[in-house]
Amino acid sequence: MHPAFSVIFFTTASGAGYGMLATLGFYAGHDALPQNVWFSITSMVVALGLVTAGLLSSTFHLGHPERAWRAFSQWRTSWLSREGVAALLAYIPACAFGLAWVFPALEWPARILGPLMIPFALGTLFTTAMIYRSLKTIHAWHNKWVVPCYLVLGPMTGAVFVLALSAGFGVTLKFLAAFSGALLAAGLVVKWLYWTFIDSTSAASTPATATGLSGTGPAVDVKSVEWPHTEANYVMKEMGFAVARKHAQKLRGIAIWLGFMVPAILIESSVMLPLPQLSFLAIPAAVLMAVGIVVERWLFFAQARHVVTLFYGAKSA
């Protein structure tokens, strides 16, 4: 699939934003959020900013952004519609919580609104994941690892961002480093399992099923001789994007190291080292992770093969 920048940015940014909200909500629920106005304001601005920027960017790739509001209407069948609705709904607890947290007078509501925010944040992440998970046409998405990946990677990036902010503001969030490390590990595991899965399996469809010939012989081989048009068309540009295997392996390495390993090492070493300033390592960790996750997300699209490519000469999808 064509890795459109706006969609990559959307899923990574809003994933991180919802992850932050979930992380903050969790700490709020345990009454473990420090009262540091700048930290609160910044965290909320960053979290909601990421969510909002992501959502806005997702409208950039629309043919008619001005009609985007129509996308809320079909929540009965469409995961994209549900995502829109969920995203919109998530603003309510998120904004309420933010207010409660920023204004100390409202401290106790924050304790309730925080946990309440978690299902909304994770729910939105879930709907995003389901947009991909539900597409039967794309084996790399239509599988059991996609939802776990989104549900782990969102909170993971969110947790690391919160950690980095806390380090920046010099506040301590107990166990968040350990927690982030655990999420990074879990993220790597689900992503690894995802990659193993897509590397070792492919769609049930073949050029023979695509042309309806699967039933006409034991091992029907259908080779593309000529495309309908000699130049690439919309379907091929959108669905036929292919990345060379070697290139993809390299990028996967980058995603693994930058997205998971290096942040985990930096964060965990900051915990073990005596100097508190070293928790500043969380900031570079967050930056590197962001880069790694963008690469991861780029691959999520670039390596996804659509069954329509079977019509255009792909042997499997």
Partner: protein, 952 residues
């Protein structure tokens, strides 16, 4: 039965208005000439639909015809007459008014006509008005006229007309409704585009067997029940091996041979005698046969003879044997056995034998009978029509080889032996065919080419012996293209492909003006394009062009426009009157004679004029006799439409056969009808005159047909047409080569004539192939017509070019593997004549020794109003660059009998290009710049949005 609109309630307008006007006319996106209905909205073309009532296409349209809108609104359309101001090829033109353009042309041409009319070479390419253009040349007085036939398929036309009095091409058709076994040789698309497709659909629906003989397994071959992927140029061997098998097994329709062919005609066998090999004739010139009842020699044309097919008889003191025996002896020889040819054809002997057996089985065991009573030429009544349901069709895969004439004859021989010509289930003539074998007239020009006088007749015709050649007393060619000379004696369509080279060389003479119409000679209709371009721009030492004047009539900015001195811009096919005449290339079918018109359905928005009208205007300015009246004023002031209605070639015979006579009630012959065009328009722009039912088959011998055809003016006499297994005119040339007669070939041509003018079909290796080291050039290289492009025209069409903007070289996987060539690699295709770079596509469905590509997709940079970086120029290629126009012995690369250009003889090697060359083709011809008025089309095309807005 249509569905009625449901009440869906989704606001969709299921009954929008499609047009405020629907006009019928005839498509001209190719030479098939289908009937169309043009839907017009606000004066713009909304939709083009096939005319259901039309005899050619019966409502369907092909891929091109359906894209007519984009052809009509092409940005490459020329806008106004152009006069060259820069060097040839620079595209530096100024726009001039029509009057000036016509004055220039008149000046050049009247100078020629006054002095030496043959200094005008008028060649008209893909012309559909050859009866006008040929007549114009005749009135002008030049013999130097031809259309594209010489480089197209004159082998088929000539072999057919000299053998069966008809031919493949679009002049005959399989009996789609009855045939049970259909063999197609070397056809990718053909002129009968839609009729063939409609027919194949019928065969498929009926489950008849369809065998395609073709090195490439595309298009029609893809749906064949059997694909015979033979090696190019070997069909003659394949077919004659089938003949061998049939003869050996006695599976021959002897009754048919006796009744309808010259099998019983006696042929002198008298080595060294002037009559050797000629048909024995009586004092009335009737061919003779041996009557087994009276045991005597008698006229073979009599109905009441029982002729011998074998034996040796004494006629006038010479030995004579029936033609049949000569034929049978020749092909019974072991050298024609399947085993002897299998390897050369690349087809197992067992397959050849099986095909022979299948043909025999279907012809003789699955015979069909139609309950149609008919009367033969001798007045004998038959209560039914017997059909041998084997049909054949062949085209350029046969003709575009230098052995194509004989191969085509071999196929006709096979048809005759099976008794399948114009019988139910077989191959059928379309009127005005069958015609005498060969018909008159002879090519004109022999009796002098005189200043200010018309030529004695029409420039192209049919020769029957050396005396008809167009040679002067010193054996020099009278025609610039050397048609009807010892080099190509039976060049019935001329040799358009030799004109430029001969004129530049001054061999046989120089010319003053080259007048071209509708032929892209500076690109895809020339072999060795580079050399042709060089010749068009070649100069004498004094700086004058070797071809002093070039006038070109095109409708679009083709590559050739850049090389003209004067460009006469034509209209598009939707803007003009045209006439698809029976005197030309008719659109008849096997059961009717048809002709048609084009009417202007939209008005030109540019300063262009229909070429035919311009030609008549020019003719009047030149005072050509047929084009001015008694007071020397234009005879057809109303232009081509006027001519179509009022011109008479002979009394009562004009361009259109329908609705003649003052009141429009006569068909075929009749006085001009002033309302004829209205009558055509009222009938959908065509006329179809059905052949009487009892004359639908056996036309060559069917009294009803012969009489009907004579009445229509197709036949001079209602006499039986006898098909020629043995082709005597060839022997006449051969005897001349052997030293007999007054007109003999120069010594350099004797052996060649002796070898190739065999009155029975022969096979020899194609010349270009025989001339090169085939281990160095191991592959055959072919082109095929893409069904959705017409030669070079398609690329200016925004829709058609999207389908194919680049042509690749198709190559067999195994052949590529040997050369380490992978899919999509760029390769050099090298022949003895040059090389060109192409991208390969590996396939299984091609003969292993053959590579091929789509024809005429590659374009010169900048031509056709395409952006210079278009794939047509950067990745597409033209195979013509590696096809030489001459053979190593300096003769033209043509069939020795007809002069047919041998496009498909070229042998090549294919090698992977170096790594740094894996980047596109080597289109190093330089960029053409559009002339005034032509601009690259818009980046965004939203044709149709207006119609939608109007609908809302």
């Amino acid at each position: 039965m249509a569905f009625s609109a449901p009440a869906e309630g989704d606001g969709v307008n299921t009954s929008p208005v499609v047009a405020d006007e629907v006009k019928t006319t005839t498509c001209y996106m190719c030479a098939c000439r289908c009937g169309i209905k043009v839907h017009l909205q606000d004066g713009k073309v909304r939709y083009i639909q096939g005319n259901r009532d039309h005899p050619v296409n019966k409502g369907v349209l092909c891929g091109k015809g359906s894209a007519g809108i984009m052809q009509h609104y092409s940005p490459a359309r020329l806008r106004k007459p152009l006069k060259r101001v820069g060097e040839r090829g620079s595209s530096e033109f100024v726009e001039i008014e029509w009057d000036e353009a016509l004055e220039i042309a008149t000046k050049w041409l009247s100078d020629i006509r006054k002095t030496d009319p043959k200094k005008l070479a008028f060649f008209t390419g893909r012309d559909q008005s050859q009866s006008l253009t040929g007549w114009w040349a005749n009135q002008f007085g030049t013999p130097n006229y031809a259309a594209h036939g010489g480089f197209c398929s004159v082998n088929m036309a000539t072999a057919g007309i000299y053998t069966i009095g008809g031919s493949f091409w679009e002049f005959g058709e399989p009996d789609w409704a009855h045939t049970k076994y259909f063999m197609m040789f070397g056809v990718a698309e053909d002129h009968d585009s839609n009729p063939i497709k409609i027919g194949l659909g019928k065969l498929k629906a009926r489950g008849a067997k369809f065998v395609s003989v073709n090195p490439a397994q595309t298009g029609y071959s893809a749906i064949a029940d059997e694909w015979i992927g033979l090696r190019p140029g070997t069909d003659g061997l394949f077919v004659l091996a089938i003949v061998h098998e049939l003869l050996k097994a006695g599976q021959v329709d002897l009754d048919y041979a006796v009744k309808y062919t010259n099998a019983p005609w006696l042929v002198y066998q008298a080595p060294n005698h002037a009559n050797d090999g000629l048909i024995a004739r009586d004092e009335h010139n009737n061919p003779l046969c041996w009557d087994k009842i009276t045991n005597s020699v008698t006229s073979a044309l009599r109905a009441d003879v029982t002729p011998a097919l074998t034996g040796s008889f004494d006629v006038n003191g010479l030995k004579a044997v029936p033609a049949f025996q000569l034929m049978a002896e020749r092909y019974s020889d072991a050298s024609y056995a399947p085993e002897a040819v299998a390897e050369r054809c690349g087809i197992p002997a067992s397959t050849i034998k099986r095909i022979a057996a299948e043909l025999a089985h279907v012809a003789f065991q699955e015979t069909i009978e139609l309950p149609i009573a008919w009367t033969d030429w001798a007045g004998r009544k038959h209560d039914k029509m017997i059909g041998r349901p084997v049909a054949m069709h062949a085209m350029r895969g046969i003709s575009a080889h230098s052995n194509g004439f004989h191969t085509c004859r071999a196929i006709h021989l096979l048809q005759m032996l099976l008794g399948t010509i114009d019988v139910p289930g077989g191959f059928r003539y379309k009127p005005p065919f069958p015609r005498p074998t060969p018909p008159g007239p002879k090519p004109a020009g022999k009796n002098g080419i005189k200043p200010n006088e018309p030529l004695g007749g029409i420039p192209l015709g049919f020769v029957t012996g050396p005396e008809d050649l167009l040679l002067d007393a010193d054996n020099n060619a009278l025609r610039i293209d050397k048609a009807y000379t010892w080099e190509h004696p039976i060049a019935s369509h001329g040799l358009m492909h030799m004109v430029i080279a001969n004129a530049v060389k001054g061999d046989p003479y120089t010319i003053d003006t080259l007048f071209l119409y509708m032929a892209n000679m500076a690109w895809n209709s020339s072999m060795n394009t580079r050399a042709t371009i060089d010749m068009l721009t070649a100069k004498h030492d004094n700086g004058d062009y070797k071809i002093p004047h070039i006038i070109y009539a095109d409708a679009y900015f083709s590559e050739t426009v850049a090389y003209a001195d004067l460009v006469l811009p034509d209209t598009t096919y939707l803007e003009r009157w045209d006439c698809i005449s029976l005197m030309d290339r008719p659109i008849s079918d096997a059961e009717a004679a048809s002709d048609a018109i084009r009417q202007p359905v939209v008005q030109p928005d540019r300063d262009v004029r229909p070429f035919q009208t311009v030609l008549l205007d020019l003719g009047a300015r030149l005072m050509l006799p047929g084009m001015v009246n008694r007071i020397l004023k234009p005879r057809y002031p109303g232009g081509y439409a006027d001519y179509i209605v009022n011109h008479e070639r002979a009394t009562g015979v004009g361009p259109l056969a329908g609705w003649r006579g003052a009141d429009g009630t006569q068909h075929g012959r009749g006085a001009p009808n002033p309302n004829q065009l209205e009558a055509y328009i009222a009938n959908g722009c065509f006329w179809r005159g059905e052949i009487p039912h009892e004359a639908h088959y056996y036309k060559m011998a069917n009294a009803t047909y012969l009489k009907w055809a004579q009445g229509m003016g197709f036949l001079p006499k209602a006499e039986q047409i006898v098909m020629q297994i043995y082709c005597e005119p060839l022997q006449k040339f051969r005897n001349a080569a052997r030293g007999h007669g007054a007109i003999q070939p120069p010594d350099k041509d004797r052996a060649r004539i002796e070898t190739y003018f065999d009155p029975l079909p022969i096979w020899y290796a194609p010349f270009d192939e025989a001339a090169v080291d085939t281990t160095e050039y191991p592959l055959h290289a072919l082109t095929q017509r893409p069904m959705h492009h017409y030669h070079s025209w398609g690329s200016q069409n925004a829709w058609l070019r999207q389908i194919t903007a680049q042509n690749k070289l198709f190559m067999h996987r195994e052949a590529a593997a040997k050369q380490n060539i992978a899919d999509d690699d760029w390769v050099w295709i090298t022949s003895r004549a040059g090389r060109v770079k192409a991208q390969v596509k590996l396939v299984d469905g091609v003969n292993k020794n053959t590579v091929w590509t789509w024809n005429a997709i590659g374009k010169r940079k900048g031509a056709w109003a395409l952006d210079p970086n278009s794939p047509e120029a950067t990745r597409g290629f033209l195979l013509n660059h590696v096809i030489s126009e001459t053979l190593p012995d300096k003769r033209s690369n043509s069939d020795p009998i007809t002069g047919q250009a041998a496009w498909f003889d070229v042998r090549v090697k294919v090698e992977r290009a170096a790594d740094h060359e894996q980047n596109g083709t080597d289109n190093n011809f330089g960029e053409l710049h559009p002339p005034p008025g032509v601009h690259v089309g818009p980046a965004v095309l939203q044709y149709g949005s207006d119609f939608k807005q109007a609908a809302e």
